[in-house]
Amino acid sequence: MLFDELRIMQQHGKQFIPDVTKPQLPGPYKGRPEISAVKVDEQALASLCPTGAIGTGPVSIDMGMCVMCGECSFAYPNKIRFTTDYKIATNVRERLIVKEGDLNAITLDESKIRTEIRSLFGRSLKLREISAAGANADEAELNACGNVNFDMGRFGIEFLASPRHCDGIVITGPISENMAEAVQVCYDAVPDPKMIILVGSDAISGGIFAGSGALNRSFLDKYPIDLYVPGNPPHPLTFVNGVLEMIREKKK
């Protein structure tokens, strides 16, 4: 009966996050790292990292490679601390490299956002997601972006089935040799102007799969990337906020 449905709806209440720029994530969540000036054995620190994301002299962490295992911060808690700042998406690859002493938020370079992205996609952005050897965690988080909690549909952002109806592609996974052709075919099928978004450390750098003989990442050498969304997997809030930053005019 209808009363059952009403009871269920009442039991669940309002589920959506009213302002997606505001939620606080709990303590153990690993977002943007901060690296102090404390002196440590930099080589020993760097060697802990499973993906070689840690640079030395001065110490830096490349969030495009980081798989958020936290090994570095467990071993050197005074040197490296992961904050809960989930707004870590950017359009400039170098901005993903957090250096010693950097305490600033990771942001997009406004000057590098193509003008058509904001004029055409600011209120409606349809994307074709391609899982190119993604392990289904990145994909699950992208699906979550559209659920009743994060509800990115309210901003006009949506994943569609046909690339013909889309404004760009989102790639997850390190891009296997076996998927390389499909990625190209799908990208070609998207009408111009179009964008490319890389989601997750696997897509951005190969992540833990970097160096595998089963990958073919040559697609990425051919085109500029419009947005990097780091994480393992990235939190839905990282994706939603990153895309909003890219497509919306900054409020003056």
Binding site: G134, V148, N149, S176, I208, G213
Partner: protein
Amino acid sequence: MMETTSTTTPTYASIKNQESISLAKIPVLNYSKFYGEIVNRLKEPQVHCVNYYAYPSGELLRFICCLADDSVGDIKIFSHEMQKKEKVPLTSITKEVYAFHIYEREIRENFGVEFLDSPWDKPVRYAFNRADRGKLVNDYPFYKIQSEELHEVGVGPIHAGVIEPGHFRFLCNGETVLHLEIQLGWQHRGIEDLFLKKPSLIQRTVLSESIAGDTAVGQAATFVSSMESLGNISVSDRLMLERTIGLELERIAMHIGDLSNMCIGLAYQLGASVFGALRTPTINYSQLWCGNRFGKGLMRVGGTHYPLDNSLLESLEKFLLNFEGRFSTMAEKLFSLSSVLMRMENIGTVTKTQMELIGAVGMSARMTGIERDLRKSHPTGAYQKVAYDPVFEVTNGDVWARAILRKKEIIMSIDFIRHLIARLKSTTEATRKPIAENTLSLLPNALCVSLTEGWRGEICHCAITNGDGKIQHYKIKDPSVHNWMALALSLRDLEISDFPINNKSYNLSYCGHDL
């Protein structure tokens, strides 16, 4: 132990789940003896094969076959070998035991060993280091029927939704599917090879969490257990209890997400929204516990960075209580709607016999009445301390069975976690930190078989060390390796429009299969 052969020399080595054994203790049989032993033993319904694979060792190609015997709770290991150069063609076991198709196909693809008269000799995943690089993923030899009345529908590798890639080829007579063939391999990342190339423990642990990102806890738990076994590291009861909570939470999160996706397939919006919303606090609990919504970071060798302290246990109890209330009203509603039942009952039915033949594991086996659950038959860790009572009463084998089994398993897992919490509260011991990289020393020349009942079913990792105690070979088997065939069988004589709901009702892993 019953020895059925007439000879006194043993034909196999027996170990328990997550035990290690010296390679020298595994008898090497000639192939005809090996063949006979395997085929005979698999006539017992209580015995099934958890892994059969080959690995190169010097001039030799060594074959390892692990049969799990549920009646005695052991794993019997059989072996044979051949000279790498010779590549002697072998009599196909698949002809007798259909479930072996996937093992023999993989061995053939990787090493070029022929299996004579194999009834389904197809490529598996087009691994980058396959024996014949001339075979390409776009040239898969699909099964064909010659008839002017039939047509083919090809879908993928890229699908309509945000899911992993795979190719489905339907042979149809009008709207009716005569046969569905599933071609995988698009996701192949060379992960087994990376286990050897990336030598550090943290690299391998992170790799294990990425075998299938939706089973990060299950796969990583299987990996760390194999390292702890080979490294002779004992872990505390408390840690075992905590790990098991991680495994059962992963099951709840995936089952509830699947119920939501099935509701989308049924076009039942309320169920889709409510179950989807219930998944959020489930994975958010993981985030509260370890910082990651998929439980990445929870499983580490020898200890944990994230002890479940009393305040976390309290949050867990609160979460379970809230979840249970909201879940049960929605589930009750869902399973009482005639419009929903009409779309699930007698749709995509597979039989117990079919599932036995294909070697189905986990939920895909249980929903037809196969009583197969490692938590009961080969328990380790906390499953040995707190008995888990598997859900064996669902037997219909249709979409409805796959849905209702998820509901029942969610309820069972909530109940089980509460037992684990009670145990944890009465334990005073503290958990240790994970062991340091340089303190792990593995047993040389040994094999460890590690099995875990993940949310999809049986996960099997087999690690082999060389004389220096370094990992020489690491074999991974995801439950989906067997269960994909169940989806193909479900589609027979079904309308093609019933494919999405069937696919969602299995939710199998592409990357777990492709490695």
